[in-house]
């Protein structure tokens, strides 16, 4: 009798186990199928399009496996390529410089106002991305308060502008992606046990040494995640350059957009998109090696 009972239980356990091994796949299936059809497959299509050549009418292309497209596309837009990565790097560094002390202050110095301050960090998300960027254009623009004030005290001349410059584009990029930097930084700083910092102090480390040897290394996952989350969208962005820049501050996104919608040259646009993605993925892989995907996502 007892033996039978045990038999039953193990069967049930076995059943459960089998059941359990199938459940995760059932949970994953719908979402992953969606991502495969509408993310992986389009990316493959993009790759296929990048080696096509024009066939007669505008907007029609045939597959000729012309890898020369990549070289042509790169040579035609290498300045914008360089600019995209330069502006994105500058914006990432600036965002880190602004966000790190801010995240630090929220994590360690805010007391009971912590939640309110966190809401304030994500407040820009509550208004439209485009409206914010246009607001910067008007604030920094010819008739805006900043230029008028600077001209009144003769810091800049009457002919110097702020908008339609790389400076304005980088300002816009920094601003728009700042929450992506602040939140992961905050998350990793908040996880640090304050006693580790106290211990450093007890061992006669001064504030700077404590920061350099304890706080900063412990917050590195946040730094890595934040820089990635800022750099990736900034490198692919073209809204800031379109609204705040001029033709001389165009980024790769502007070029891809133009090849798609104005020139209707899909292969070149696809080749540029692919190169942008490849360049970014190489950077991401480099970072993932340091931090691990599980920690990043």
């Amino acid at each position: 009798m007892a033996f039978l009972h045990v038999q039953k239980t193990t069967n049930r356990l076995k059943g459960l186990k089998n059941n359990r091994s199938l459940i995760p796949y059932l949970l994953l299936a719908p979402g992953l199928i969606w991502l495969s059809i509408f993310f992986i497959f389009p990316i493959l299509q993009l790759g296929a399009t990048s080696t096509k050549t024009p066939a007669g009418e505008i907007g029609f292309f045939e597959q000729t496996y012309r890898f020369q497209n990549y070289i042509d596309a790169f040579l035609a837009s290498k300045e914008q390529f360089y600019r995209s990565f330069l502006y994105a790097t500058l914006a990432t560094i600036l965002a880190l410089a602004i966000a790190y002390p801010l995240a630090y202050a929220i994590a360690f110095k805010s007391g009971r106002y912590k939640n309110i301050l966190l809401v304030m960090v994500i407040a820009p998300f509550f208004t439209s991305f485009l409206l914010r960027t246009i607001a910067w254009k008007q604030i920094l623009g010819e008739e805006g308060p900043v230029v008028s004030a600077l001209r009144a005290v003769s810091i800049i001349g009457d002919t110097t502008s702020i908008t339609a410059t790389p400076f304005a584009v980088v300002t816009g990029l920094t601003y728009n992606f700042l929450p992506f930097m602040t939140l992961p930084l905050y998350a990793s700083l908040e996880r640090i046990d304050p006693r580790t910092m106290e211990a450093a102090g007890d061992l006669y480390a001064n504030g700077l040494t404590t920061f350099r040897k304890v706080t900063l290394p412990l917050s590195m996952p946040g730094v890595v995640a934040g820089t990635l989350l800022t750099f990736i969208p900034a490198a692919g962005d073209y809204i800031n350059a379109a609204i705040l820049g001029d033709p001389k501050s165009k980024m790769l996104g502007n070029v891809i957009d133009a090849y798609y919608f104005r020139i209707v040259d899909y292969p070149t646009a696809a080749a540029l998109s692919f190169m942008l993605m490849a360049a970014i993925l190489i950077l991401v892989t480099f970072y993932i090696r340091r931090a691990g995907t599980e920690e990043l996502v």
Binding site: F39, Y104, M120, A123, F125, L131
Partner: protein, 266 residues
């Protein structure tokens, strides 16, 4: 001397934080202020205070059609992305299975791909398949890019749960399904709500991908972008400001509910 230094450094970071918040809020305050501007169609310079933009936010041509479209797309995408993403988050957060790291990679990749590449690749596929772009293609795209953000948000919540709560339920003879319905799901619910809010705001605010997949239809961001050339009407600021206050109210109510729940539990 040392204490003075310490005081200064302590407050230096507060001053720094204050300046950072000023920077964060300048364009938001500007946007809200100019929703009250009597500036006519272009709304470029301050012409005086008025409430008429708020009284009639649909006065600018097409703006309310655009807003309605954005709400429709946002709500539909949010529902689907939240369901699909939450299922994945449970699989990742509660089960050990083969293919875990490739799943993580597939979730991470859309977030690591610039929006313009996502948009361009989708349009390439739709053109290749001869599909007409419009609302359906846009909703498909929005669900795709929102899934990853939902997974990340819900997974974080699941990971922060105390597994002993579920064990306790099982010890009290709840079966797996009952444990899930009565214990796990209510505990994860705030995370799912946060993920849904995030998905909606990402979808509602998206311009780059939408511009590729929407064809000739219009959304609120597309309306703002296309009118930016000749000046954005103040009604757009009204809608932007209203969205800001609604989102703020939702977040504050959420925070209050969460802290009430916390004090109830302790």
């Amino acid at each position: 001397m040392r204490s003075v230094k310490r005081w200064a450094s302590k407050n230096l970071i507060r001053i720094y934080a204050f300046l950072a918040f000023t920077y964060i809020f300048i364009p938001i305050i500007y946007t809200i202020a100019f929703s009250f501007n009597d500036g006519g169609k272009s709304n470029l310079t301050w012409k005086g205070f008025t409430l008429k933009n708020w009284a009639n936010p649909c006065a600018a041509p097409e703006i309310c059609t655009a807003l309605g479209n954005s709400l429709k797309i946002g709500l539909t995408s949010t529902i689907f992305a939240t369901i699909l993403g939450t299922l994945i988050a449970f699989a990742l957060g509660r089960y050990h299975f083969k293919g875990r790291s490739s799943t993580n990679l597939l979730i991470f990749l859309p977030m690591a791909t610039p929006e313009i590449v996502l948009g361009a690749s989708l349009l390439t596929m739709f053109i290749g398949l001869g599909v007409d772009t419009g609302f359906v293609t846009t909703i498909i795209a929005h669900i795709m890019f929102c899934i990853s953000f939902v997974v990340v948000t819900v997974k974080a919540r699941i990971a922060s749960l105390d597994p002993r709560l579920e064990q306790a339920a099982m010890d009290l003879y709840a079966n797996e399904w009952q444990t899930f319905r009565r214990v796990t799901l209510p505990l994860v619910a705030p995370g799912i709500a946060a993920a849904a809010l995030l998905a909606f705001s990402l979808s509602f605010d998206d311009f780059i991908i939408t511009n590729f997949t929407i064809g000739t239809e219009i959304t609120f961001p597309k309306f703002v972008y296309t009118s930016a050339i000749r000046g954005v009407p103040a009604q757009a600021n009204v809608i932007g400001a209203a969205m800001f206050f609604i989102a703020l109210a939702i977040v504050i109510v959420g925070q209050v509910l969460a802290s009430k729940r916390k004090s109830k539990l302790s």
